[in-house]
Amino acid sequence: MTAVHLHQIAYSPEVLARVEPGYAVLDHLANERSDWYELFPIRRHLHAQAGALDENAFYGFFSPKFGAKTGLSHAAAVAEIQAAGDVDVVLFSPQPDMGAFFLNVFEQGETFDPGFIAAVEGWLAHAGLAVPPLRSLVMDTRTTVFSNYFAARPAFWREWLRWQDALFDACEHGPEAVRGPLTQGTTYPGAAQRKVFVQERLASLLLTLQPWRTHAANPFRMGWSATRFREHPELAIMSDALKRAHRDLGFPCYLKAFGALRQRFTQGS
């Protein structure tokens, strides 16, 4: 039986008191550097545990909203991971409309925060991370991660950490031309900085660029977004299928049809 270690991030005594049975607690009661949201405690924990993790086990670090957003209990999440077969990463991404109607999570981010892609590409160039133009990437339910809701073996977490460290460094110490766009406030409640939405997209980027083996829990049974995109679930499901087919088979017709469905959605709204 695959070992699974799922943590719930406890950033206040109230949250700590409500941690669901089964979860280990990732202590973030001091809640320092709240500007980084969940990245800060996860990153710190992984650095502290370097070399001490079980290479065959799965690890996950979820916010207290995991259950509400995904509809999954701790036991259900563990069962999904243990039934996933021989994979490196198991995804639990809610808001399937946000994943489906956009080519990738960066295009989705750009829609809600103009300038997002330019900021990310500026950082990637600065960090020397060779990535194709972000607008050209196609992601489907096998590669789309929101809220860092995934469990992975240590090999994936190490790669994730390497990229997060590069982002962290750029945001903390990088030149203003790179740091400024990444730390710009957004319209998200609390004026969360853009970097928060960049960090939660790096897992998707890695899954798209590198040959990690993934399994996705069915996102269409999780919570949908609070936007108008949720009004056409059947188009979202079809859009995801078209992106899968494009990634696997490469026929140009699939992306053309994806565009046609998006147009139907736009015209229907």
Binding site: F220, E234, D240, A241, L242, A245, P252
Partner: protein, 271 residues
């Protein structure tokens, strides 16, 4: 990556006037026209020829380019790109037929009533048990007209199935034999067995998932049957993509969405 491409030559005219890049598979005697292309292809492999185990072999009717828009160059180019990762490369025509049906047997039943039941009974008779009604085939398992190239290892497995069909149809009279050799309304009353034999490769691909199959884009030169599909093939392409998705991840949402599209296009004609 070597490909040996044969054109089935039924007449002197097709023997001497081959599609560029094809060599003849001599069937000028046409001793068993009731089996269409199946007879010469089966005889080719039944003779256990000396073949190159790493090469691809394919047997095409003279209508290949007309039906698909593809040529020998298409096949060689695709194999040069991807052949190392494949055992079978499909070049099926009729993209709408690929897309809107759950599998080739359901599609066959739509046009040749009785095919599904007869095939299921034949499978039982020869000791095979796939439930045809529950099979999902997408563009990588759907073979029409025997338009595919494959390595000899695949062809030998095909021959095992082909012989099982041949033996039932050519053997003693049984209710199943009568059923499979009954005439249909298609092309000079072709027998039902003809529509089963051209589905054997698809059957093999789903029964034996070890085969690595790819497909040449059937939508590129898609011969669509209606002006509406020619103008906007989105529904067909979505259907195919949904089948591809649900073969990987059998989520009910993909099944339901496939049903929605199909209902819109075919009405109650499908299942």
């Amino acid at each position: 990556m070597t490909a040996h491409l044969y054109q089935v030559a039924y007449t002197e005219a097709t023997f001497t006037n081959l599609m560029p890049g094809f060599q003849p598979l001599d069937n000028r005697a046409n001793l068993r026209p009731d089996w269409f292309e199946f007879d010469p292809i089966r005889r080719f492999w039944a003779a256990a020829p000396a073949v190159d185990e790493n090469a691809f072999y394919g047997f095409f009717s003279p209508k290949f380019t007309d039906k698909t828009g593809h040529t020998a160059d298409t096949i060689h180019a695709r194999l040069a790109q991807q052949g190392e990762q494949l055992d079978v490369l499909l070049l099926s025509p009729f993209p709408n037929q690929i897309a809107f049906f759950t599998n080739v047997f359901e599609q066959g039943e739509f046009f040749h009533r009785g095919l599904m039941g007869a095939t299921q009974r034949w499978l039982a008779a020869v000791g095979l048990d796939p439930a045809l009604a529950s099979l999902w085939m997408d563009v990588r398992q759907t073979v029409f007209s025997n338009y595919f190239v494959a390595r000899p290892a695949f062809w030998r497995e095909w021959l095992v199935l082909a012989d099982k069909l041949w033996n039932v149809c050519e053997g003693p009279s049984t209710p199943l034999q009568v059923e499979l050799t009954a005439n249909t309304a298609y092309l000079q009353q072709a027998q039902l067995k003809v529509f089963l034999q051209e589905r054997l490769a698809s059957l093999l691909l789903v029964m034996q998932p070890r085969w690595r199959s790819g497909a040449v884009d059937p939508y590129l030169h898609g011969r669509w049957p209606t002006e509406a599909l020619r103008a906007d093939p989105t529904d067909a392409i979505v259907s195919d993509a949904l089948k591809h998705a649900l073969r990987q991840q059998p989520w009910q949402e993909f099944v339901n969405a496939f049903g929605i599209v199909r209902q819109r296009v075919l009405g109650g004609a499908g299942k």
